[in-house]
């Protein structure tokens, strides 16, 4: 990787000493632009291309311990896609991602609007919202598991103290476990949309909003017809980054619910982790990888559209 940086250096040096004609320099200039962008391009290309190649190749073989490797075509896919566990993984993922993204982006937008003038109190709250986001998922999962523990957790003690009904074991029922998991994840990642939207809102020219105000638009009208449309590109990118991020999560779920009860919170990422690192079944893991990459690419199509608008807009 480092080797590709070096030519960048030398060629720019050549270019700045102007021995040649204008045409020579223009040609030089074009190739220099490539060289500046090449390292990042190659890194990213490697990360997209290789896993795809690997997963595609391994997913069409059957590999079991003590058995010869055997080409089985699409058998692994048929097997995976028809098993009930995979369907339940898919449902859990869909609920977790959709509810999480809607909640997180919605609350994040509300917070950004409420906290954008940046008074001392607002800055204080902003700082505290950052804390869960900069905490590792492992720590988030461990601490919440304890806070919510129905036997000796602090919330249980608080409920008891104030004579409320027993604090429920949220991880015991399938629905409440999934809800709790989604909420903890939203709570954890709220800072990201908030910061993105705050930053985007600061970039909206003050005059635009003031003009709307002069025209008699109330607060909610200004939000709906002026501010939100103005930051729409950032909202779109944020939503898509969140979606892909949630879809690929593992350890928060692993340490908070462990996928239970009865697999209700086993999202696809966790299943893949288990196939690979607990059951050591490479063919299933490769097949799952392939399926997840495909779903990622479908999600990414929306993202590509948003990006193309951005990348194309400047050229």
């Amino acid at each position: 990787m480092t080797t590709s940086v070096t030519p960048t250096l030398s060629s720019t040096d050549d270019q700045s000493r102007p021995p040649g004609t204008r045409a020579w320099r223009a040609r030089r200039r074009r190739s220099t632009g490539w060289l500046y962008m090449a390292p990042a391009f190659l890194l990213v290309l490697a990360v997209t291309a290789y896993p795809l190649y690997f997963a595609a190749r391994y997913s069409v073989f059957r590999m079991r311990m003590w058995e010869p490797v055997e080409f089985v075509g699409l058998d692994n896919y048929v097997h995976l896609l028809t098993e009930p566990r995979f369907l339940s993984n898919l449902v859990a993922s869909a609920v977790y991602v959709f509810a999480g993204v809607v909640g997180c982006a919605g609350i994040g937008l509300g917070l950004a609007l409420a906290l954008r003038s940046g008074s001392r109190w607002q800055r204080l709250l902003r700082t505290f919202i950052l804390i869960p986001w900069i905490t590792s998922e492992v720590v988030v999962a461990i601490t919440w598991r304890w806070l919510l523990n129905p036997q000796y957790g602090p919330l249980t003690a608080v409920f008891e103290r104030f004579g409320l009904p027993d604090f429920p074991n949220v991880f015991a029922s399938e629905t409440s476990a999934l809800v709790a998991l989604t909420l903890v994840n939203v709570w954890r990642s709220l800072a990201f949309p908030m910061l993105m939207f705050l930053a985007a809102l600061q970039a909206v020219p003050k005059q635009t909003e003031e003009a709307a105000q002069v025209d008699g638009a109330g607060y909610w009208q200004r939000v709906r017809y002026v501010l939100v449309p103005a930051i729409m590109p950032v909202i779109v990118v944020t939503v898509i980054v969140l979606t892909i991020n949630y879809f690929n999560m593992v350890v928060l779920v692993l340490d908070l619910t462990g996928g239970g009860p009865t697999g209700a919170t086993e999202i696809l990422g966790l299943r893949l982790y288990r196939e690979a690192f607990e059951y050591f079944s490479v063919d299933t893991a490769a097949t799952l990888t392939m399926v997840m990459l495909l779903i990622n690419f479908v999600l990414a199509i929306f993202y590509f559209r948003a990006l193309r608008r951005q990348a194309g807009g400047e050229a």
């Binding site: 700045s16 632009g33 962008m37 390292p39 900069i134 590792s136 601490t143 105000q213 982790y273």
Partner: protein, 295 residues
Amino acid sequence: MTTTAGVRPAGGPGPGMRRPSRRRGWRIAAIVLVILGVVVFSANSLWALSTSLKAPDDILAYPPSLIPNPVSFDSYTRVLDGQFVRWFLNSLVVAVGTVVVVLAVSIPAAYGATRFQFRGQTALLFVILAGMAVGQVATVVPFYFLASRLGLIDTYVVLILVYSVWMTPLSVWLLRGYFKSIPVSLDEAAMLDGCTRFRAMLRVVVPLARPGVAAAALIVFVYAWNEFILAVALTMSDSMRTVPVGLHMFLATYGVDWGAISAGSIVSLLPVLMLFLVLQRQFVSGLTAGTLGSQ
């Protein structure tokens, strides 16, 4: 900054009317909300802090109390005696290394994307930014096999490389927005004065874009510091684990040693928290220009 600060109060911080009595009501409601928010968002780190400072016997006392009495550093000494220090250093090396590589790759890329025009530039930028769309869990298994074939398991290099690949797209996106806001005439002036283009980038554009660079560096650092799934797959021996993996193993092996887990969590939070408190202002303004330029 000063001019906008003067305008802002008139622009109206709060919703609603500006009659004095209602304004006071809003104010009190707002402060209550802020306090509630602070509690909600700091609840579990406060709890971990409190637990980490309790004596071993008090940790599981019921009903639990928030204030540790007596204060004991037992959990900290236990954690810091073990391999935790090694994990901490591993995480530090990997996170700093990742920040360096990502910046080394994405600063030129963002510069190339904003300062040149050539055929295929849009496509190139598109591929780089599209890297954000590949989910990382889907690459864990392939990378594991690639790394073991190349003998890179259990090395810093593999973690730094893989993390860098993940964070380059976001970093390019942010920096590109920032670089766009810096007039090209500045680098041209530097080049007329005899700077090479590369030097103009390093000496003129990068210092001006410092908030953007700081924002990108912070996001990359936080990611690398907290990443779990790739770290657990690409390291084998206990001495090469990173902090999140180590804490996860704490949970698996000690089960209920909440004191040690809490102390480890608090220690792992410190570097990131300090970095954020120092750079917070730059961070937000860096993000602002980044998203602005991208619109």
